[in-house]
């Protein structure tokens, strides 16, 4: 088994999840200029809801088709997360749209703390095991092994991300979204219902996040109330790496971050002569981020903002 190919593959799997979550951050940032700290928690809630639905279904009818089961669980999670995102935006961010810049950041942090602890109250402190629905099959690919779950992750995230890019770039809704992120006032003057577009943006991000949450839980076979925090942080880092507000940048940043982490963690020991171990995986990600931003202050694909942004 080729170790390098394996690391790259693992990196791609991790990266496509980061990319999906990063899209949620970057869409909201593009429109509102707000770091939506609660997004990671929405991802976690998605995973938890899906897990709850699956365990209920397994209890009710154990021999249900696994695909039907996944479909029901996934759509429930997506729906709940979209509703959640709608209400978060409506209650915690919209009233503060004209407030000082840091006020919505603090409410976002508040929502994040609230959701995390709510999840802890509902689902408990312990790690929840994800039941194995599909029989695990492994395939050989370029000398690396890939499980069916990993294949599934790459496939689903690829389809969803391509779909999102198509929607944003080629539909009327997408054009309205882009216009709103250029200037809310002018978009409003052109007859766009800005509030509706912002709600839709939050909900689309949440739907992607819910799917990402389910995929992560499926990949590691565990879910936990705190899983959203670090995932969200990494995804936000990915979004910034790619150039925040830029959809393609978020995808690129996500994949890159996944690769850096996976390959970096695998080789950091050899590179530093055993001085730094794989515990420094997270350091690697942040150091790369800092270096990239020093040379490109608006990320890899970010547009150059004028001094008076």
């Amino acid at each position: 088994m080729d170790i390098f190919a394996q690391q790259v593959l693992n990196g791609l799997v991790l990266g496509s999840v980061y990319a999906m979550v990063a899209l949620g951050y970057t869409m909201v940032y593009g429109i509102l200029g707000l770091i939506n700290f609660a997004h990671g928690e929405v991802v976690m809630i998605g995973a938890m809801i899906a897990l709850a639905v699956i365990s209920t279904l397994m209890g009710v009818s154990p021999d249900m088709n696994p695909f039907t089961m996944i479909f029901i669980a996934g759509s429930t999670a997506i729906l709940v997360c979209m509703l959640l995102a709608f209400f978060i935006e409506r209650l915690a961010y919209r009233p503060l749209r004209k407030a000082p810049r840091l006020a919505p950041l603090i409410t976002a942090i508040g929502v994040s703390i609230l959701l995390q602890n709510l999840a802890m109250i509902i689902w408990g402190r312990r790690y929840k095991m994800v039941p194995q629905i599909f029989p695990t099959e492994t395939h050989e690919l370029f000398g690396a092994t890939i499980t069916s779950v990993q294949l599934f992750i790459i496939g689903i995230s690829g389809i969803l991300m391509a779909g999102l890019l198509l929607v944003v770039h080629f539909t009327k809704l997408g054009r309205a979204m882009r216009a709103t992120s250029e200037s809310q006032r002018v978009a409003g003057l052109m007859g766009i219902n800005v509030n509706k577009i912002i709600s839709v943006t939050f909900m689309m991000g949440a739907a992607l996040g819910a799917v990402a949450g389910i995929l992560v839980a499926g990949n590691y076979s565990v879910a936990h109330y705190s899983m959203g925090f670090m995932l969200g942080l990494k995804a936000f880092t990915a979004a910034v790496l790619g150039g925040i507000g830029n959809l393609g940048g978020a995808v690129l940043g996500g994949l890159l971050l996944g690769l850096i982490e996976s390959v970096g963690a695998g080789y950091i020991g050899d590179l530093t002569g055993g001085f730094l171990g794989s515990h420094y995986q997270d350091v690697f990600a942040f150091v790369v981020l800092i270096i990239v931003l020093v040379f490109r202050p608006t990320g890899l694909m970010g547009e150059r903002v004028s001094e008076r942004a």
């Binding site: 940032y29 200029g33 000082p100 950041l105 942090i109 929502v111 055993g274 202050p297």
Partner: protein
């Protein structure tokens, strides 16, 4: 009513004798507060008060960076960690060094300032939220290093942390022990309270003086419009670095005091959540306003403790049993409080009077 209050306040504050009386009353109240607390609700609350004072110092330091200079820092706890670990390494059995506090305090502040410049220098070109994420990463990097520097050479003891840190001692008198002066017995937490209070007052005076100084005005100018500030002849690079360094050194001192009070440090105390907490103190209290930030820091340290001590008794009284995990419930209410306060007072509980005007104009821009 409001006008009446304002004119009343003006009359009171313009009368020097009344003002002096007010200060004396405040001073007496602050002096007897720990005794009042330890005799009514217990000595733990004096300890909580000690931590509130440390956090207030920390928040005032962050206020220099975020509030005055407008540089969003999400990794501020790193400087606190640097200060705490500097103290821990120089005054504990870890390396068998036991330097006196008057030597470590400046070293800790200096180390933190150095790290502040280290963070500031490469990020001078970054704006707003890009800066925020880099500072966040910086904070995480520091924490991860503290967590893993136990091998190949053991420096920080890794996740276990450093134990048996020396307390502050003056003339051989250990300040965490109980001492008796003038027939009154002062326990460790009481002595620390007075020490921290004195340092906090010094910090407040420094902050207020800084805000009204040439440097402070330069910070405000950079915060409002960096380009215009540069055009007015402000050396934005140096002034920004100064904000990072000064803010960091305040954090370093607070960290050192924390290490000596606690007697123990571990990487766990310096996570992202702590950075966020300090930021919440600054913004919730009133960014850029020294007294507002002070209020925010005191509220956000004391409120979770009050929730902690009431979460299970109240449940038991209302429902007869503890149904909801009190720790989770406490944080849930805390998150809710953050949201509600910001919704009701978007510029913070006690915003700076001048700043309020500036922000109103700012928000009307698209």
């Amino acid at each position: 009513m409001r006008e009446f209050m304002q004119s009343f306040l003006q009359k009171v504050t313009s009368n020097r004798r009344v003002l002096l009386l007010g200060y004396v009353l405040l001073f007496v109240a602050l002096a007897v507060l720990p005794f009042l607390l330890s005799n009514t609700v217990g000595r733990t609350w004096v300890r909580i008060l000690d931590f509130a004072l440390i956090y207030a110092m920390l928040a005032l330091g962050l206020n220099i960076v975020v509030g005055f200079a407008g540089l969003l820092d999400l990794g501020y706890i790193a400087f606190y960690a640097v200060g705490a670990y500097t103290w821990a390494l120089l005054a504990s059995p870890q390396f068998d060094l036991h330097l006196p506090f008057w030597a470590i305090l400046p070293i800790g502040a200096g180390m933190a300032a150095l790290f502040g410049v280290l963070l500031g220098a490469p990020t001078l070109r970054l704006r707003g939220d890009y800066l925020a994420i880099v500072t966040l990463g910086f904070g995480e990097i520091i924490r991860i290093f503290l967590n893993n520097l136990d091998r190949p050479i053991n420096v920080t003891n890794g996740p276990i942390g450093i134990n048996k840190i020396d307390p502050i001692s003056i003339g051989g008198a250990d300040l965490t022990r109980t001492h008796e002066w003038l027939g009154i017995s002062f326990s460790g937490v009481h002595i620390y309270y007075y020490l921290l209070l004195a340092l906090l007052i010094l910090t407040i005076v420094m902050c207020v003086r800084l805000e009204n100084s040439r440097i402070g005005r330069a910070w405000l100018a950079i915060r409002e419009d960096e380009l215009a500030a540069q055009a007015m002849g402000i050396n934005t690079r140096n002034i920004k670095l100064l904000a990072f360094a000064l803010g960091a050194s305040f954090g370093g001192i607070a960290g050192g005091l924390f290490a000596s009070l606690q007697g123990f440090v571990s990487p766990e105390s310096f996570g992202l959540l702590e950075s966020i907490m300090v930021l919440c103190m600054v913004v919730l209290g009133g960014m850029g306003h020294v007294y507002g930030v002070l209020l925010g820091a005191l509220l956000l340290t004391v409120l979770p403790e009050i929730l902690r001590s009431t979460a299970s008794p109240v449940q038991r009284a209302l429902f007869g049993d503890v149904y909801v995990d009190p720790e989770a419930l406490r944080m849930l209410l805390f998150g809710l409080a953050l949201i509600l306060v910001m919704l009701v007072r978007p510029s913070g509980l006690w915003p700076a009077p001048k700043r309020r005007v500036a922000l109103d104009q700012d928000s009307s821009r698209d």
